[in-house]
């Protein structure tokens, strides 16, 4: 199976402290991996380095065969836009936009017309049971609704890699089930999935679980 992600000896140093110490990890297409570990062990930092948001102090992130951190800023942004879908612990929607606008925005930016992007957004929102809430401002969505919108946004460009940072951390169990279904759907679409979680149910649904402790995998 083709490799989507290869992390080679990633290190993230903050001052004198190494938050991530030589982490290496591979993900294949459609593979789901759960990243578990105690709070503060470096999971989110690792996810942000893989997601091209936080530059590693050492090591490489190879995405679909490209050393992603050696690309220039504009190309790296393109890679984020086209190949990576990010789901944060807090939904991180743009509050000034509606649910539909939040989901459509990355597709519109990537090259779809606005109408096509909104159609794609509508389809995803319907799939996640949010068709009736598509015009609601992000600030008026419940936590569970907002997290589903965030997942829809992460999937709208059909990314090769979905990174989810404790996506059910702030949800009740019913909402968490819906989010888990949504992430499983992403994986079913062929995306590699890396989920940081404390939720054993999510970890159990992943094909592989990787534990992180003191910055090491």
């Amino acid at each position: 199976m083709p490799k989507v992600l290869r992390c080679e000896s990633l290190v993230r140093r903050l001052g004198a402290h190494d938050v991530v110490r030589g982490a290496s990890l591979d993900l294949d297409e459609a593979e789901a991996v759960a990243l578990v570990g105690p709070s503060g062990c470096g999971k989110t930092t690792l996810l942000q380095m893989i997601g091209l948001l936080d530059r590693p102090s050492a090591g490489r992130v190879v995405l679909a065969g490209h050393d992603a951190w050696s690309l220039d800023d504009a190309v790296r942004a393109e890679v984020r836009l086209a190949w990576i879908g990010f789901v944060f612990q807090q939904n991180n929607l743009v509050e000034a936009l509606s649910a539909r606008e939040n989901v459509a925005l990355p597709a519109w930016r990537l090259g779809s017309s606005r109408r096509e992007a909104e159609r794609a957004a509508d389809a995803l929102l319907e799939r996640f049971g949010l068709a009736a809430r598509r015009d609601a401002p992000a600030s008026e969505l419940s936590v569970g609704e907002a997290q589903r919108v965030a997942i829809a946004r992460a999937l709208v460009n059909r990314p090769r890699l979905v990174l989810a940072d404790e996506p059910t951390g702030s949800l009740d169990s019913a909402s968490a089930d819906v989010v888990m279904e949504a992430l499983a759907a992403a994986s079913a679409l062929g995306a590699a999935l890396l989920v940081v979680t404390h939720d054993l149910r999510i970890a159990a649904r992943a094909g592989r679980t990787v534990e992180m402790r003191d910055g090491r995998l």
Binding site: V62, H66, A74, F86, N92, W108, R114, R160
Partner: protein, 417 residues
């Protein structure tokens, strides 16, 4: 692992415009304050520039067009040109197409009196009617003396007021035929002239009253031939006033004229009239200071308000970066917002400025004699303040936009910053 082709898409204006509009509408109060500060700057500078341009234009119009011309030509050694018209023709020929008119004048010191009380005055011999746009006076009442009218005189309004005369009255005119031109306007107890000076004394009829800030308000004007006859040289002219199409060519043309007419001394208005030169320089300085104040008055609030705007949207910026918007696009997003503010502020400021222009046109900031300062509205006068306001707003807004582009999404999204 075989490398997949890298994704390539061009930055698109549509999403950025959409986000800019949402962002500004989400901060309506800040947006209103920004527009207000830009509008105030434009609304102040547009009429200010127009008024100062109007002041400079009125000054040139009155002091040069309706004054002594752009170049004053006098005989180098003799007291006057024997034949003023011929001298004027030689001057025109020497300078060529750049000359609008060369006007011979005979200027003598004298006094005008009524009832035994005299006022000093310069007495101008002028070829009536002359070209109205180039006369060294504005006729305010009465009529011009006819050519050859030996008894008619035009009196400056100030001179007439002091003497208490009106159109149709008779006045005593005393002219020093042999003395050098002297000061005018001082009240004297008796007629000018003394031992050794030839004084012409004539009773004249006031045909009209004239104004003009270049000195006409306190001078007397009569037919040049009639005045020259009193000097014994019927066609004499003490100077040729040269009017050019371009005022600012005078300093270059005067030496060229001297080279071609060695018997004449030519002085451009800049060298001859420091009053006008300094006034124009003062206008430019005031305008520059005003621009500087406007730049400060716009750049400080725009910078500060946009800085606050960016600080309030750091999380949104982090989200956009995480979604795949590049630094350049985030910079462009905030610069677009600055552009919207600049254009909205300019529109409001232009409307405000237009209202001020109408007001100053109806109520000029300066009005004395014929020197009435009205705002001059030309493309250049409007373009200067508009471009300055636009550039200032964009530059001031580009600093917070640059900061926005430098936002570290990792820190912001983890709420470290």
């Amino acid at each position: 692992m075989e490398a997949a082709p890298l994704p390539r898409s061009r930055s698109r204006l549509g999403p950025l415009l959409f986000l800019a509009r949402k962002s500004l509408l989400g901060s309506r109060f800040t947006f209103a304050l920004l527009v207000l500060s830009v509008a105030a700057g434009a609304g102040f500078q547009i009429p200010n520039t127009a008024n100062l341009a109007g002041f400079s234009e009125a000054l040139l119009e009155e002091e040069l067009r309706h004054g002594g011309g752009d170049v004053r030509v006098e005989p180098r050694e003799k007291r006057h040109f024997e034949d003023g018209a011929a001298a004027a023709a030689r001057v025109s020929e020497a300078l060529g197409a750049s000359v609008r008119a060369a006007v011979p004048v005979l200027v003598l010191p004298g006094a005008v009196g009524k009832g035994g009380r005299f006022q000093n005055a310069l007495v101008y011999g002028y070829d009536f009617p002359g070209e109205p746009a180039l006369r060294p006076f504005h006729l305010t009442s009465g009529a011009l003396p006819a050519p050859g009218d030996a008894n008619g005189v035009l009196l400056g309004t100030s001179l007439a007021n002091r003497l208490g005369v009106k159109v149709g009255d008779a006045v005593d005119l005393r002219i020093i035929l042999g003395g050098p031109p002297g000061g005018a306007g001082e009240a004297v107890g008796g007629p000018p002239g003394g031992a050794g000076e030839a004084v012409g004394a004539t009773v004249m009829t006031v045909r009209g009253l004239v104004s003009g800030s270049a000195g006409a308000y306190r001078s007397a004007f009569l037919d040049r031939a009639s005045l020259a006859e009193k000097t014994g040289a019927r066609a004499a002219a003490s100077a040729i006033h040269v009017h050019l199409d371009d005022h600012f060519a005078a300093s270059d043309l005067a030496p060229r004229l001297e080279a071609r007419l060695p018997e004449a001394r030519a002085v451009g208005w800049k060298e001859d009239d420091p009053y006008v030169t300094n006034y124009l320089a003062a206008n430019r300085t005031i305008n520059a200071v005003s621009y500087a104040m406007v730049v400060a008055a716009i750049s400080i609030p725009v910078w500060a308000l946009f800085h606050i705007h960016v600080l309030g949207r750091r999380r949104e910026i982090g989200i956009l970066a995480a979604l795949g918007f590049s630094r350049r696009e985030i910079f462009g997003l905030f610069l677009l917002q600055t552009l919207v503010v600049a254009l909205a502020g300019l529109s409001a400021g232009a409307a405000l400025g237009y209202g001020m222009l109408l007001y100053f046109d109806a109520y000029p900031i300066f009005s004395w004699e014929a020197l009435v300062v009205r705002p001059v509205v030309t493309a250049a006068v409007l373009a200067g303040p508009c471009l300055a306001v636009l550039a200032t707003t964009l530059l001031a807004g580009s600093v917070p936009a640059w900061r926005a582009a430098r936002t570290d999404p990792a820190r912001v999204l983890r709420r470290i910053d």
